[in-house]
C-alpha cells in the first residue's frame, strides 16, 4: 500500500515536471521543472535501493549540470525570445511519431511483462550499508577499463568545453 502511494506520487511528479520542461515558454522555468523531475528520479532510486546513485544524481545533476545550464541561460539572455513561436514547424508530425513509439514501447512492456518475475525480498547484496561498497568494488575491479575510459571522456569534454568557449585561442 505505502509502496504504491510512494511510487505513484513520485511517478506523477516526474511525469508532470517532465511535461512542464517541454511545455514551458521560458528556459529558466524549464530548468526549474527539470530540477524537480531530477529530484523525483533521485527519490525513485532510493526506492530501488540505489542510495549511492541517488546521492550522485543530486550532486552531479542538480548541483553541477543544472547550475551550468542556468549559468549558460543567463549568459545568452533568452528573455527576448519569449514571444517567438515555441515549436518547430514539424511539431505535429513529431508528436504523432513520438506517441507511436511510446504506444509501441508500452505495448511491448505490458505484453512481455511476465518475463520480469519480481523476486520478493531483496537479498543482502543490495541492502543496508553495503550499497556504496558494492558499487565501488564493481567499479574499481570488473569495470575498471570503462571507468578509466569515462575519465578520459571527461578530460576530453573539459578540454573541448574550454576550447569552444574561449574567444581567441
Amino acid at each position: 500500500m505505502i509502496d504504491q502511494i510512494i511510487f505513484y506520487t513520485l511517478a506523477f511528479i516526474i511525469v508532470a515536471m517532465s511535461l512542464m520542461v517541454i511545455l514551458a515558454r521560458n528556459a529558466v522555468r524549464s530548468a526549474l521543472y527539470l530540477i524537480s523531475a531530477l529530484l523525483g528520479f533521485a527519490a525513485l532510486y532510493i526506492r530501488l535501493q540505489a542510495e549511492l546513485l541517488a546521492g550522485v544524481q543530486i550532486l552531479v545533476y542538480v548541483g553541477g549540470i543544472m547550475v551550468l545550464f542556468l549559468f549558460v541561460i543567463m549568459l545568452v539572455s533568452v528573455r527576448t525570445m519569449e514571444h517567438q513561436a515555441r515549436q518547430t514547424r514539424q511539431w505535429k508530425a513529431a508528436v504523432v511519431i513520438a506517441l507511436g513509439v511510446a504506444a509501441e514501447l508500452i505495448y511491448l512492456i505490458v505484453r512481455g511483462g511476465s518475463i520480469f518475475v519480481t523476486k520478493q525480498p531483496p537479498d543482502a547484496l543490495l541492502t543496508k550499508s553495503q550499497n556504496t561498497q558494492v558499487v565501488g568494488e564493481a567499479l574499481y575491479s570488473t569495470y575498471l577499463l570503462p571507468f578509466e575510459i569515462a575519465s578520459v571522456l571527461l578530460l576530453v569534454a573539459m578540454i573541448g568545453a574550454v576550447v569552444l568557449a574561449k574567444k581567441k585561442i
Binding site: 521560458n26 529558466v28 522555468r29 526549474l32 530540477i35 542510495e51 549511492l52 541517488a54 546521492g55 550522485v56 543530486i58 550532486l59 542538480v62 548541483g63 553541477g64 543544472m66 547550475v67 551550468l68 542556468l70 549559468f71 541561460i73 543567463m74 549568459l75 528573455r79 543496508k128 550499508s129 550499497n131 556504496t132
Partner: protein, 341 residues
Amino acid sequence: MNILVNYVVIPLVKIVVIVAILSGGIAYLTLMERKVIARLQHRLGPMRVGWHGILQPIADGLKFIIKEDIIPIKADRFVFTIAPGISLVPAFIVFSVIPFGPPDSLWGTGGYVTDVNIALLFAVAVSSVGVLGVILGGWASNSKYPLLGALRSSAQMVSYEVAMGFGIIGVLLVANSLSLVEIVEKQRSMGVWFFFVQPIAFLIYYFCGMAETNRLPFDLPEAETELVGGFHTEYSGFRFSLFFIAEYANMITVSSLAVTLFFGGWLRPFSSVAALSFLDIIPPPLWFVIKVLIFLYIFIWVRGTLPRFRFDQLMRIGWKVFLPVAMANVMVTGAILLKFL
C-alpha cells in the same frame, strides 16, 4: 503501529525540536555576529533592546515581517517568489542526517533524526542544491546587480564544491564509511579526532565552506561595495529575511559538518583518556554545540578581519591552490593507508 511510531512519530518530534532550536539559534547568531564584530571594531553593538541588546533578534524579526514585501514589476514573479525557499529548505534538510548525540541516547532512539548509509554524500549533495536559490533569485529580479551576483555565485560555488568534495574524500578514506554516525564512532574507537589525521583536509573543507556560504572573504556574490547587495538587491521584507536565514543556516551546517567530520562530533575532548572522565558531566549534545559555536565564532572573526578577494584571485585560489592540494591529500592518504594498514 510500531512502524508508525518508529518511522513517523519519533522523527517528526525530533524534526520539530531541531527546527525550533535551529531557528532560535540563527536568530541569536545574528546578535552574536553583531556583538563580536562590534567588539572587534571597538564598538558596543546593539544595546537598546533589552539588556545589552538581548532582545534585538526579536525586534529584527518583527521588522522583517512588518516591512512591505516588494516584487519588482519586471521580475519573473513565480521564480522570484520561490527562490528564497529553494535557498532555505536545503539548508535545513541537511540537519536531518547530522548526529548530535550517540546512538544510544534519547531513550535508545539516537541523537539524530536519521542515520542513513549515504549521510555524508546526502549532506554535500543537498547543500549544493541551495546555490540554485541564489542563482534563480538573482536572475528573477531582472536587474543588473542581482544578475552579476548570480553569475558570480554560480561560478564560485561550482568551483569550490569540487575542492570541498576532494577534501572530504580524505576523511572518507580514513573512516571507511559514509554514515556520519559511524564516522564519529570511528573517531572514538581510533581515539583521535580526524583533524589530527587529516589537518589539510580540514583546512580545505573549512575555507571552501566559507566560500559556499558566501561569507567574507569570499562574499563576492553579495559584495555590498561593488554590487550593492548582489543577488538579493531587489528583495525586501520577509523574502529577504529568508535569504538571510538561509545564509546563517548554511554557516551552522558547515560548522556542524566540520565538527562531525574532523572534531569528533558529540565526543568530549580526549574521549579515550579515562583521567579526563570528569568532562562527562557535560552531556554529548552540549559538547557538540560548544564546538559548533567555536567554529561560528571563527566565521565571524574572519569576517571582521580579512578583506574581500578579487574575482580572479578567488578563481585562482579555488582551482590552482585548493583543488591540487586536496587531490594531493587524497593521494597521499590513500598511499599511506595502503602501505601501513
